[in-house]
Subunit: 235 residues, 2 copies
């Protein structure tokens, strides 16, 4: 178990053997993989459990890979890799122009596919941060759902609810200034929001728990006149 939520990959492939092979290979490389035999089945899965990347066979029965690509691309910036049995230039170009991030032809090298997947996921991390529930940074693991912060030596760090909210908001928008107003809004869900200055105190308390030297913070940085920023190394 890795402690952080692995990216979710959905494979849309009607050929059972290829699907199973790919699934187990990617699974053994630490991804969470879901197989789908058809477009409708994939749509069900995506509705319940959004994916970070789609691996789509071009030649599917019914709604084909290109159509899925066009539809999904219209919906989101999800990563898409098309897989095809044909090596025709025109097919490839059409797929890429449809918005697929990549197009690989069978037979393909699994390690190459893995490298391509990694590169695309690196590009889509900004999107993933919003949905992410587990963050690893600077010797800590933060689980948003469990509301738990753990040091890498396994020692749990107790955070109050308000501290959790602030840290979660900062982590979901790394290297981006979060204003006090935005952060208070996260902390309180009440009508009468507290003084924005309250955030200063919460940040101070967080720094005491996170930073080596709270006087010279590295992880939560102040942007004078603007707010606070997460500047730790994420993941």
């Amino acid at each position: 178990m890795r402690g952080i939520a692995p990216p979710h990959i959905v494979i849309i492939e009607d050929e059972p053997v290829t699907r199973a092979t790919l699934t187990s290979y990617l699974d053994s490389n630490g991804y969470r993989v879901t197989g789908a035999a058809s477009a409708p089945r994939a749509e069900e899965i995506l509705a319940r459990d959004p994916a970070d990347l789609l691996l789509i066979d071009v030649n599917l029965e019914g709604k084909d890979g290109l159509q899925i690509t066009r539809e999904q691309r219209a919906l989101s910036e999800i990563g898409i890799i098309l897989i095809s049995g044909r090596t025709d230039d025109v097919d490839r170009i059409v797929g890429l122009e449809m918005g697929a991030d990549d197009y690989v032809c069978k037979p393909f090298n699994r390690r190459e596919l893995l490298a391509r997947i990694k590169n695309i996921l690196r590009r889509t991390t900004a999107l993933r941060h919003l949905r992410r529930t587990v963050f690893r940074f600077e010797g800590f693991t933060f689980d948003v759902n469990k509301r738990q912060l753990t040091r890498s030596d396994g020692e749990p760090v107790r955070l109050t609810r308000a501290e959790y909210e602030v840290l979660a908001q900062l982590l979901r928008h790394p290297a981006e200034v979060q204003s006090r107003e935005k952060l208070v809004a996260c902390v309180t869900h009440r009508q009468d929001s507290p003084e924005p200055r309250t955030v200063d105190v919460l940040v101070r308390r967080l720094r005491k728990k996170l930073e080596d030297d709270p006087g010279a913070p590295q992880i939560i940085t102040t942007s004078h006149g603007e707010g606070y920023i997460f500047t730790g190394r994420l993941q």
Copy 2:
């Protein structure tokens, strides 16, 4: 019409004909293209004029394409496509694992390359930090995302937010005069922008932290009557 400056693509290819062909093709497709015959030449160009995407021939004399890929990927999330005359699986995998977004083999279809370029640019422009985020100069390393300046001996140099903004703006436009008005605009978060003279003070404070002899500045130079310029040796 897009109304924004076209993406900048730098081609690193020592074969003049290929370079010229690619340059004119991409140019005619609306990109701003700069050709470089070697890695050192490319680095000069990138220092003056940051690119959105690199097209790199793998088999260059001197520093080869893989090395350039590794170095550039350490500096930024710039898009990188490798071009190779060989179709060897292992070469391709190594390139992709080095962080190249794509790897195309000659002879390639120009329209396919164009589609791939478009897809990568879509990804990189979606990311905020599409451009360079780490600058090395004159014994310092400046990480824009972490908002940290470090001396080469590892000693951190504390910058205030305003100093950080000024340095970032100067570094993003090296060897180019930045007017006080432009620099104030970077610094201020208020409605009423401060006196342009404020920049002088900020520059002075930066020089104190950066220059060997702040009285005879080498890194941030004054352009009399115009503004300030970054004149340090980048990277």
